[in-house]
Amino acid sequence: MMSMSPQRTVIRWSLRSVGLLACYGLAMAPALGAQSGSAIPGDPIAGGRMFVARQCVRCHSIWGNGGTLGPDFATVGAGRSLQQLAGMFWNHTPRMMETVRARGIDWPTFTETELADVISYIYYVKLFDEPGDPVLGERWFLEKQCMQCHSVGGEGGAVGPPLDGYARYVAPIALSQGMWNHGPSMQARQVADGIPMPTFVGREMADVQAYIRRTSNLRNREVVLLQPPNPNIGRELFSAKGCVRCHGPAGKGTRYGPNLLKATQQLKVSEIAGQLWNHSAKMAAAMRDRGITFPQFRGTEMADVIAFLYYLRFYETEGDAQIGAVLFAEKGCANCHTPVDGASIGPDLSKSQAVLTPLGLATAMWDHAPAMYDRMQSAEVEWPRFEGNEMRDLSVFLRSMARN
């Protein structure tokens, strides 16, 4: 018999608090643990631990769970890339600084890897749908004429199979996957019967799933909960299922298929699934033309692919160095780091190793924020803010400066 040590408690708690990340831990943690050799920087499992261990949870929450002083990371920053999130962190530094100091909390510092982990975690949690609205789902089910072919709860058409069985799933991805797999035959029937092809936007797919669960006759359900999607497995599936043949290795598009990066901004699992469905008829036709077998998904494969697509935008290394140069001047960075006259207050960034990667820059800025804040306060300099892609462009500029 052993007692539970506080340290172990924290670790357990951290693990639990980022429950959604365990799939990584089991399957792909090594691949996600480092930036090199992986499409996705940062290990969200470790990021989740960090989220608790560095006391982020005292002020911030995930899905309304946690502190209320700062914003909920599951709702703010949706669709933002790593560098945009880093910029957001930076913008809130003054308020955070005052808060943590008032509460006697040490300013949390991160290594490059740790910051990547935390940001990856924050990015990842937004992927998951909130439960849909069954009332809206009923409306979509009628308006999109699903009911003409399918029944739920004993009401509806008999052209397609009853959908009651999907009630054992909570997440809409199983329904989406079923629709995808049967897409060509459904679409052929719809064309033959003159039924317009339904499309799904926003959370409609989640709403329909909620409606099916509420209305289904399936009794004594053994609810099936799915392992959270794994973008690295998704990346492999993206290749194995032949998606790359039209959309290219990183989903950046070829002459046969569009760049998927833009299509997967600010989207959750069901939203991306809806997008896939909306384009599935066109894709099926294009595949037929090229002699490609329409891919079928099993288990959580579609969710994994969606996670991969979701992460496409996460790590951007490209940007506009010229805009970055202007920002460097306009935001006042140059005043401290490369002053025209007088002694340099901050380090010369053209010689800094920290700016060689976007994560390095973000980490350096974060960790040195207290010193910079104090210095700027005493000099009565306004705290610069980075909006949109400004952090990305600044990073590109600094990298180019350092290389030169």
Binding site: G19, F128, R213, V223
Partner: protein
């Protein structure tokens, strides 16, 4: 007078000298090193477990120093009690080291009840019982073995039942806590399970006589919802207590509604009247999921009055007010508050169902939940599920077992609509000679102290040749035993322990030894497994487990494999898990079983904070698939019981049976500190304040000041409370929270000399013919000076 320089110096010098002497003594005292004396500084551990003292089954943490249990606190990771613990839980330390604990298995010497015993080894005690059991099976009468089980749940109950089944006895006789609400649910929902109450997600809790903050199924569940709800952004529900006396729960609630005894159901229907009249009910839920609301034509073409018509016709607020004593305005405001503060829950307490028309009253109370759709939704009444542990092996029955089981349980099946009172029926059947019982096993049951009919039990036990008790203490019934195999205390044994059904989310709590059990007793679970092993054959095949600990570990494999839920965790973890599962995702925290088990032991159990509110089977399993407001089975049962085609409660339910001889109505109630009355040895709990901080040690009777004055009694006078069945002595407590025509007595207390003061033994024997539950509030008494 200021001190002179001389006196100041003298004083300082004296003080310094005194200190020096003291210090010198300390410094020069030179014992042998402690380690050479066989003593080393204490090693401190904090271990999680589960409290087994009452049915709440709270998570606990024990502080253990040098192998001794020093202190018990609540396990903050447990989702139900979240670090809270009640006085009984804290007092477990005293129980563990109780000087009257039985030190070894005992064999009776001399006549029964003569208090002469011979200590034997555990092995010898088991052999004595084993030989008896072998004889019964060899004689072809395994059914003459009976088990009288007090509160027993989880794997221990499963093991007992499996053992009896394989052995061939149908006589698992439950002598446990009953509130009759499972009968209400069976009738209205077709679900044979006590309701769960999602208190912490409710906005409004209307308790009908449920002692939520004192001796309910789990007071800690209510306290957590009251003080620290996980959800609703920390907004607390509003508690309203409908009660016959100003109870501790009434004091804790935001509002107390005093009511005449046995009229809770009438008040509920008066509230329903306002809700229906003002069209405040959930019309969609009623239309989609409820039967019996509207009038209908039955198969024979007769008009059947529906709930709506019945309520509007018979339960107008004026008449309800006259019956219940609750003003019309209060009924109206309660109804509106209940309807407008959703989700709201009406909780049915024991005061409601332990009455002559208790089943009807219970249905009336629950009908409020149905009207508002507060069933199977967050913040409402939920039908929980048991934790998905791995099942025991399928029992194997040889011919002897098959024949024994076919002879049926002693005492019969009981009332049609509620299988309550099984223990008393069993005792009656034994006394009447309807059945022969050769050997009775007593497992946490002490009917000579706790039963309403101790005389019947005394007579029944006299007809049983061999009585075996597993009690660790020589309580009243154990004193009559022939063999005592004392169980280990809860802090010495392995056991699983799930919270009661009132907590709707599945929890598998694990009790494990906090201290070395020593050699005084034997885990009853291990004793049963050993008996099965040594009986051999099909009995052994039915319980092929080396020990209770390994059995529990085996069962935990079900939790490991189920792919949902979590090991116990803090508030952040629980909420995170709930949100994940609500989104349809689940993580595997452990890839292998062994670390899972170790972590489970360390954290104290497993839970699943997710509830699937969409499964129709969790709303109704009736033939119609709908919730029945006017169940046919109830009408048939009422006719069969001679009540006629009863439709809920007649307004004249409360017929006062007061007489000149017995002018005062007796209201027994349970205390938080001594809820069951079976653990009479917890004497120190008499020090704990109940509602009255200045009343200790002596049983008391609460009397209204005017009543006391009229009878010529003063506070603290000793009186006899006399009914037609007997009398008990108590100290009078003048209390304006008791109605003038009632006297209230707590249940479970004793006098300092150990004499029992059980008010249930004054009851007149009335009961609900439909459910079988005894009526607790239909007895009238008088007070005499003691």
């Amino acid at each position: 007078m200021s001190p002179s320089r001389r006196s100041f110096l003298w004083t300082m010098g004296a003080a310094a000298t005194a200190y020096g002497i003291q210090d010198t003594t300390r410094v020069f005292w030179s014992p042998e090193p402690a380690s050479q004396a066989g003593w080393t500084p204490g090693i401190e551990k904090h271990l999680t477990s589960t409290c087994l003292v009452c049915p709440a089954r709270c998570g606990i943490r024990g502080r253990v120093v040098d192998g001794s249990l020093i202190r018990l606190t609540g396990n903050s990771l447990h989702p139900m009690n979240r670090g809270g613990i009640c006085p009984r839980g804290v007092a477990g330390v005293q129980m563990l080291y109780h000087p009257e604990r039985i030190a070894a298995p005992l064999v009776r010497v001399g006549p029964r009840g003569g208090a002469r015993w011979r200590a034997v080894s555990r092995e010898d005690a088991l052999v004595l019982l084993l030989e008896r059991l072998r004889e019964l099976r060899s004689a072809g009468h395994p059914e003459t073995l009976a088990l009288l089980a007090g509160f027993c749940s989880g794997t221990m109950e499963d093991v007992w039942r499996q053992f009896l089944t394989a052995y061939g006895s149908p006589n698992y006789v439950a002598d446990d806590y009953q509130d009759g609400t499972e009968s209400v649910m069976r009738l209205m929902h077709g679900i044979d399970r006590r309701p769960g109450y999602d208190l912490e997600r409710a906005a409004f809790v209307l308790s009908f006589g449920a002692p939520l903050f004192e001796s309910w199924w789990s007071p800690l569940q209510a306290f957590v919802a009251y003080a620290d709800p996980d959800e609703r952004n920390g907004q607390r529900p509003r508690f309203v207590q409908v009660d016959t006396r100003f109870s501790r729960t009434a004091a804790q609630a935001q509002e107390w509604v005093g009511i005449r005894p046995d009229t809770h159901g009438v008040l509920a229907l008066g509230i329903a009247y306002v809700i229906i009249r003002d069209q405040l009910y959930d019309t969609r839920f009623v239309a989609d999921h409820v039967s019996g609301f509207e009038d209908s034509i039955d198969a024979e073409g007769h008009l059947r009055e529906g709930y709506r018509s019945m309520v509007l016709r018979s339960y107008r607020t004026e008449e309800v007010s006259a019956a219940t004593g609750v003003p019309v305005e209060r009924i109206t405001s309660l109804a509106r508050a209940f309807a407008e503060n959703q989700p709201a829950i009406a909780v049915c307490g024991m005061d409601v169902t332990h009455a002559q028309r208790g089943l009807m009253a219970g249905m009336a109370v629950h009908s409020l939940n149905v009207l508002m759709g507060s069933v199977n939704r967050p913040g409402g009444v939920l039908f929980g599920q048991d934790p998905p542990v791995a099942p025991l092996v399928t029992p194997v029955m040889d011919d002897t077992a098959t024949i024994g089981l076919a002879r049926g349980p002693a005492g019969g099946a009981g009332p049609q609509l509620g299988a309550h009172g099984a223990a008393n029926r069993f005792a009656g059947a034994v006394v009447d000679g309807e059945v022969t019982v050769d050997t009775i096993l007593l497992y946490y049951s002490n009917p000579l102290a706790s039963s309403i009919h101790p005389q019947t039990w005394r007579a029944a036990l006299a007809r049983v040749p061999f009585i075996v008790s597993f009690s660790p203490f020589l309580d009243e019934t154990t004193s009559q035993a022939d063999l005592v195999l004392p169980d280990l205390l809860p802090y010495e044994r392995w056991q699983d322990a799930s919270p009661p059904a009132s907590y709707p989310y599945p929890v598998w709590g694990l009790a494990r030894p906090l201290v070395d059990p020593g050699t005084s007793g034997m885990h009853s679970g291990d004793a049963v497994l050993a008996l099965a092993r040594q009986l051999g054959g099909s009995v052994a095949e039915s319980l092929p487990y080396d020990s209770f600990e390994t059995l529990l570990k085996q069962r935990a494999r079900g939790l490991f494999a189920v792919r949902r839920g979590m090991l116990l965790g803090n508030a952040f973890e629980r909420r995170n898990q709930r949100r994940m599962e609500e989104r349809g995702w689940w993580l595997a925290e452990h890839a292998e079983f062994e670390p899972f088990w170790q972590d489970l032991v360390e954290r104290g159990g497993w839970t699943d904070p997710f509830f699937d509110h969409t499964d129709p089977a969790r709303l109704a399993q009736t033939a119609s698939g709908r919730v029945e407001l006017m169940p046919d089975a109830f009408a048939r049962g009422a006719v069969a019981a001679g009540l006629g085609p009863a439709s809920y409660l007649a307004l004249d339910t409360v017929k006062s049976a007061a007489s000149t001889d017995f002018p005062l109505r007796l209201i027994p109630y349970r205390l938080s500190t001594l809820a069951s009355g079976t653990l009479a040895l917890e004497r120190w709990m008499s020090e704990a304040p109940s509602l009255f901080p200045n009343v200790h040690w002596n049983p008391w009777v609460e009397v209204h000041p005017e009543t006391a004055r009229a009878l010529g009694f003063h506070d603290s006078d000793y009186v006899w409370v006399v009914s037609s069945r007997g009398r008990i002595r108590a100290q009078l407590k003048v209390f304006p929270g008791t109605a003038p025509d009632n006297v209230c007595l707590p249940y479970g207390l004793r006098h300092p000399d150990g004499a029992l003061a059980n008010p249930l033994q004054l009851l007149d024997g009335d009961h609900d013919v439909l459910s079988g539950l005894a009526s607790w509030s239909s007895t009238f008494v008088r007070l005499e000076r003691a």
